[in-house]
């Protein structure tokens, strides 16, 4: 169904940042210090305005979104659809290639579109601290924004792949140029890791194209579209299982699920604060989104076959990630950011577990958890950024007593910390509880084991809270952060930090008390999704001997 907004809103929301990027590139850099400073300010505010308009567009989408249409595999119930042929050519040997510019959203993607718009907007503010190569930074930032938004609205596999790769490039530079001491290592690791996933995805995509004759993800979901004797024809074939695993691993790298996760701590440690925010807040969700949008519905038979394996991956990620986070207090550089990075591994494990449940509660919980993890972890990384900007260190052992020096900061921090712990009244609790309730139906013992993650999660968070915020302030931090008072007029938060943190805190509290607005967005689609998957999953379960 075409929405009667009168303009191609998805195209706008995806490519608006490109316009912003061009504007940023057009800003002349002054010769002297003063005019250079002015042009920096202009570039920052261009980005603020562009991402704000993008946020407004996301809200327009939210308001005009029809919650009763499922989408998933039915093009007629996708919304804001834009579909034109992009490339249609007849090549020698490989034959006809038809790629569509095919955008549309349903209940599985709307929360992600909202999340992307929110996080991209708030992450601009910590970017103000960037002093080096400001022009390149904001240009890359906006390009990244386009890539991410594109991934969440593309319905053509090729287009999806293009956006997926488009996102990779600016991320590589953002870590590699504006990162910390080991930035090159981290950037290359990130790049190659994701590229490995991309290669898997590319191979499966080509196979699917030759089997289906179209790049449309929706066409690929219908078993009747497969040409007889093509490689992916039929159901429950070994080649389909292999293809699913290839896709699953490709996406699991992005999530990241254990054991494909080690790029994440390095990337986070080296990335500048706003890039960490985007990385944890949005990029990781592309992995689980890829699963639910592509891997699962295209290979529902394989989901049934590998269902318990997927649940195990989720469970292991939850516990192992939490243990590693706890271990950061004793091992390595005791880096605050690394701890939060591992906590992401753990919290994204809940998403995988929820998806594996193949129950409406579990999958709704998983998507909601994707959204909540996006907001909560964005806050956590910004919170780390706040002290890093001031103290230029993130060592867990180097602080203490910040609660007295920065009371408001501590208060806001507590919202994020307790949300990460899963405190009721904050959004993380509801999504985790739904994941558990759903997963308990399918895998009671795995779910109970995953429950240990809740205890470990509380342990590493409270430990951090105690080390960094409680106790006595070390003497070296007794002085004001910024004696000149130019950069940090007060010891506590400054205005742009409020702008970034407070909206996220309000979202976390609001959705914790009243989650219906978010849940109702995905509800119809999730139920439809589960019903659509069910028959295949059951046969897959049977074949795997579960």
């Amino acid at each position: 169904m075409q929405s009667s907004l009168g303009f191609p809103i998805l195209t706008w929301i995806v490519f608006l940042p490109i316009i912003g990027m061009l504007l940023v590139l057009l800003v002349p850099l002054g010769k002297d210090e003063r005019s250079r400073e002015v042009s920096h300010i202009i570039m920052r505010w261009i980005t603020v305005v562009i991402t704000f308009i993008q946020l407004v567009l996301a809200v327009v989408i939210y308001l005009n979104y029809n919650k009763s249409l499922p989408g998933v595999n039915d093009v007629s119930t996708f919304q804001f659809v834009e579909r034109v042929t992009w490339i249609n050519a007849n090549f020698p040997i490989i034959g006809q290639i038809k790629i569509e510019y095919f955008l549309g959203i349903d209940g599985l993607s709307v929360p992600m579109v909202l999340l992307t718009a929110i996080v991209c907007f708030v992450a601009v503010f910590p970017s103000f601290i960037i002093e080096k190569g400001v022009k390149g930074y904001f240009a890359m930032y906006l390009l990244l924004d386009t890539g991410m938004m594109g991934v969440f609205v593309a319905l053509d596999f090729f287009l999806f792949y293009v956006f997926w790769e488009l996102m990779l490039l600016p991320m590589y530079f953002l870590i590699g140029i504006w990162g910390g001491p080991r930035k090159e290592y981290a950037a290359i690791k990130f790049f190659i890791y994701t590229l490995v996933g991309s290669v898997f995805m590319l191979l499966v995509m080509i196979g699917l194209y030759y089997s289906v004759g179209s790049f449309s993800i929706l066409d690929m979901m219908n078993p009747n579209n497969y040409k007889p004797d093509s490689i992916f024809a039929g159901m429950h074939t070994t080649i389909r299982y292999i293809a699913f695993m290839a896709l699953f691993i490709g996406f699991a790298i992005k999530v990241p699920s254990v054991p494909f996760h080690t790029w994440l701590p390095d990337a986070h440690v080296e990335a500048p604060t706003p890039i960490s925010v985007i990385l944890a807040g949005i990029l990781l969700k592309m992995g689980t989104y890829g699963m639910i949008r592509i891997a699962f519905p295209i290979f529902p038979d394989a989901v049934g076959y590998f269902q318990s394996l997927i649940a195990w991956v989720g469970m292991i990620s939850i516990i192992y990630g939490a243990l590693c986070a706890l271990g950061q207090h004793k091992v390595g550089q005791r880096d605050f950011k690394k701890l939060i990075a591992y906590s992401s591994v753990s919290h994204m494990g809940y998403v995988v577990l929820g998806l594996a449940s193949m129950r409406p509660e579990g999958i709704s919980g998983a998507i909601f958890q994707m959204f909540n993890h996006g907001t909560i972890t964005s806050m956590l990384f910004m919170i780390v950024g706040v002290i890093y900007d001031r103290a230029h260190t993130r060592g867990l052992d180097e602080f203490g007593g910040l609660a007295n020096k920065m009371p408001v900061y501590t208060g806001i921090m507590m919202v994020a910390f307790f949300a990460a712990i899963g405190l009721p009244g904050l959004s993380g609790f509801i999504s985790e509880a739904m994941v558990f309730l759903g997963a308990f139906n399918t895998y009671p013992y795995l779910t109970i084991a995953s429950g240990l993650g809740i205890i470990l999660g509380a342990a590493y968070m409270l430990w951090t809270l105690q080390k960094v915020f409680f106790g006595k302030l070390p003497d070296r931090w007794n002085k004001p952060w910024d004696p000149t008072g130019k950069k940090f007029p007060s010891d506590d938060l400054i205005a742009r930090e409020y702008v970034a943190l407070v909206p996220l805190a309000l979202i976390i509290i609001y959705l914790g008390i009243y989650p219906n607005p978010m849940l109702s967005l995905m509800n119809t689609s999730v139920n439809y999704f589960v019903e659509f998957m069910k028959p295949f999953v059951l046969i897959g379960n049977f074949l795997s001997g579960m």
Partner: protein, 720 residues
């Protein structure tokens, strides 16, 4: 007063403390010193409203009515007034929640409101001058809000939500003086130990949700009553009950998760009175009472055993502690064990009754200790003495003379906790002990250990409470600080008076020796179990007993028994009373012989039985054992995981990168030397030949002409 109004009162009671939290957290700095008064006034209002709810719910009748409006279902009956609405309303998941006020909740509301109000009042003086004065009252408000939420919840979801919220407020208040590492350690410990219990609670909830698709108590209970068991198994129902009870084990500091409560004494003393003595720690008992109908006989046996072990264990530890508050903390653990044990054996009414009476006298004991510590602290401050621990009872003595009113109230509530007649403590404790006796008679075998533990703990309680009283208040002052203590002002004393007065028998029963003649057993009647008959105790079956003419409003209750258990309990009443008086009297006597008259020397005894003494003094080594096992294992395992991640998993990643890179170098060299070598070889060969041939290129026309002619000649020669 209509039922609707009463529920709305309940909602107001729930939300007002939240208002106090919001005011103090956001405007605390602005209102400064007045935040205590603001918060206390709000709590005063809460107290008034709670009392109204209590009065009308317990003493008036509402009839039955069901109203449905605005998607909210209002249900009124004599048993409970409640409303239900759908909180999460999705096709994928529907969660109905709501609040309900039955007699249990109405009584509990007053307990929470009154103690919270008195503690607020007390804190105005006690916390004066603290740099985070308004923050303190904010947290108290958050706590009271959450606690009221637990009380009013009529479903597992709200129960769990507020359960966690009290956990957080407890965490914040224990670690209120977070500059001290011991305080923030204690808060962390409390939260984590509780999380272990809460995980069990949550597993129980998951089992129930999975089986019944709802979290409302009513719906779950009626489904069980219809014979629908989780996983069609009685064992799973028992397990679900035990899992839910795990929440109570954590929150009510039962064995084996009791270790957090004594450490929680790091918090300000009024907080200990409110949260860690009277209300929050009783939430576990409240939960157990709330879901009582779903416990099978096996689950109840488990509960009774846990309670009995806790009661005895904690009482033995309290014998040798020297920190004023820690003695009281272990006494709290022990008394909570009593309540849990009482519920487990089937003495439902008495278990909850003890919760109420204990709330008053234990809050009074803690506020009394607060009064002492406050006085000691000020005296030490006055003397410029920073070494004397104001909480160590070995530094006290003789406070009877310097703090007469604190002493008198403290003495009276000590009598109450020891179970001396004319006090409320006697009524409830005696009822519990009679219950354990009846239980042991009806079940026999190892169950006799439960009354034995109960009576033994009663004796120990009497001993350690009087030990505490005598050492700190009697005799001569042992330090200058103790000598210079002064009685506190009325803000501190008033709560002590109020709570002491509430510990008189006449509030509960006209007969100081028999609680059954009072209003309480009529208000709190054991709920009818929903468990299939064959899985519950025969003697607790309400319909299974011959003489069962249920007459809740009859004055001749003694002739009508709810069930066989109640009759047995009635018959055990006098033996239990006799025994408990004897044992408590002995305990008190020995305390005087040891510490007042010094006829026996406790130190010699400690030396003679040094193993037992150490066992008690070191709290049965629970902390050491947990640190050496669970904590060490988790921390060690986390370290190993982090290292494994760093070295092995990342090692593999970097290793494969290394291999790829070196393979790349190899290919590069191969390319450079072999392939490029070949190319260069060809090029070089070409060059070589070129260099030879180039000698022919002389650039002189004559040479070229000569070549051309030669070529032509050769051509002609070959072609022709």
């Amino acid at each position: 007063m209509t039922g609707e109004n009463l529920i709305i009162f309940g909602i107001v009671v729930l939300l007002l403390p939240l208002l106090s939290f919001v005011i103090n957290i956001f405007f605390g700095k602005k209102i400064g010193n007045k935040s205590g008064i603001v918060a206390t006034s709000i709590l005063g209002l809460v107290l008034i409203l709670s009392s109204i709810v209590f009065y009308f719910k317990v003493f008036t009748s509402f009839g039955s009515k069901i109203v449905h409006k605005n998607n909210i279902l209002w249900e009124f009956s004599d048993k409970i007034l409640q409303l239900k609405f759908t909180w999460i309303d999705q096709q994928s998941i529907q969660l109905k929640v709501g609040i309900g006020i039955d007699n249990l909740a109405a009584i509990m509301l007053v307990v929470v409101a009154l103690i919270s109000f008195l503690v607020h009042l007390f804190s105005i003086e006690y916390m004066a001058g603290d740099p985070r004065y308004s923050r303190y009252f904010a947290y108290l408000g958050l706590f009271t809000f959450s606690m009221n939420g637990i009380v009013l919840a009529n479903n597992f979801l709200f129960m769990y939500v507020f359960w966690e919220l009290v956990g957080i407020s407890s965490y914040l208040l224990i670690g209120f003086w977070y500059e001290k590492k011991s305080a923030s350690d204690a808060g962390k410990k409390a939260f984590l130990v509780n999380r272990v219990g809460d995980l069990g609670f949550f597993i129980g909830i998951m089992i129930l949700y999975f089986s019944y698709g709802t979290l409302l108590f009513d719906d779950i209970f009626s489904a069980i009553a219809q014979g629908k068991l989780p996983f069609d198994s009685e064992t799973v129902l028992t397990l679900a009950g035990i899992f839910v009870f795990c929440g109570a084990i954590g929150k009510s500091a039962q064995f084996p998760l009791h270790v957090w409560l004594p450490d929680a004494m790091e918090g300000p003393t009024p907080v200990s009175a409110l949260i860690h003595a009277a209300t929050m720690v009783a939430a576990g008992v409240y939960l157990t009472a709330r879901v009582y109908a779903m416990f099978t006989a096996s689950a109840l046996s488990f509960i009774a055993s846990i309670g009995a072990i806790t009661a005895f264990l904690a009482a033995t530890i309290a014998l040798t502690q020297v920190d004023f508050k820690r003695v009281l903390a272990y006494s709290t653990v022990s008394q909570l064990g009593y309540m849990i044990m009482s519920l487990g054996v089937g003495a439902y009414t008495m278990g909850f009754f003890h919760l109420v009476t204990h709330a008053w006298f234990k809050a009074a004991l803690f506020l009394g200790s607060g009064s002492v510590i406050h006085a000691m602290h000020h005296a030490a401050h006055h003397l410029g003495d920073h070494h004397t621990d104001p909480q160590d009872i070995r530094n006290m003595g003789g406070l009877r003379r310097t703090m007469p009113w604190t002493y008198r109230t403290f003495l009276f509530v000590t009598l109450a906790i020891c179970g001396v007649p004319l006090t409320s403590g006697f009524l409830s404790k005696d009822g519990i002990l009679a219950g354990t006796l009846a239980y042991a008679q009806l079940t026999g075998g190892w169950h006799w250990l439960i009354p034995i533990a109960g009576f033994a703990s009663a004796g120990l309680t009497a001993f350690y409470m009087f030990r505490l009283l005598i050492i700190s208040f009697h005799g001569e002052p042992k330090t200058d600080v103790a000598k210079h203590t002064k009685e506190n002002n009325w803000i501190i004393l008033l709560p002590l008076f109020v709570l002491s007065i509430l510990s008189f028998w006449f509030f509960y029963s006209p007969n100081p020796l028999d609680a059954h003649q009072g209003w309480f057993p009529k208000a709190i009647v054991q709920p009818k179990s929903v468990v299939p008959d064959e899985h519950q105790w025969e003697f607790l079956l309400i319909n299974g007993y011959q003489k069962s003419e249920v007459a809740p409003h009859s004055s001749q209750i003694s002739h009508h028994y709810l069930n066989e258990f109640e009759e047995a309990m009635h018959h055990s009443h006098y033996p239990a009373m006799f025994l408990s008086l004897l044992i408590a009297g002995t305990g008190i006597l020995f305390a005087f012989l040891f510490y007042q008259f010094k006829i026996f020397n406790p130190d010699t005894l400690a030396n003679q039985f040094s193993f037992l003494y150490k066992l008690s003094f070191r709290k049965w080594y629970f902390d050491e054992i947990y640190n050496a096992t669970v904590v060490a294992f988790t921390v060690g395992f986390s370290k190993v995981s982090a290292l494994f991640d760093l070295k092995v998993i990342d090692g593999i990643v970097n290793g494969s990168a290394w291999i790829t890179r070196h393979f790349g170098y190899f290919i590069g060299h191969f390319d450079n030397i072999v392939i490029d070598g070949l190319v260069n070889l060809i090029a070089n060969a070409t060059g070589f030949f070129g260099s030879i041939v180039r000698y022919l290129q002389t650039g002189r026309v004559q040479t070229y002409v000569a070549f051309a002619v030669t070529g032509l000649v050769l051509l002609i020669y070959f072609l022709l």
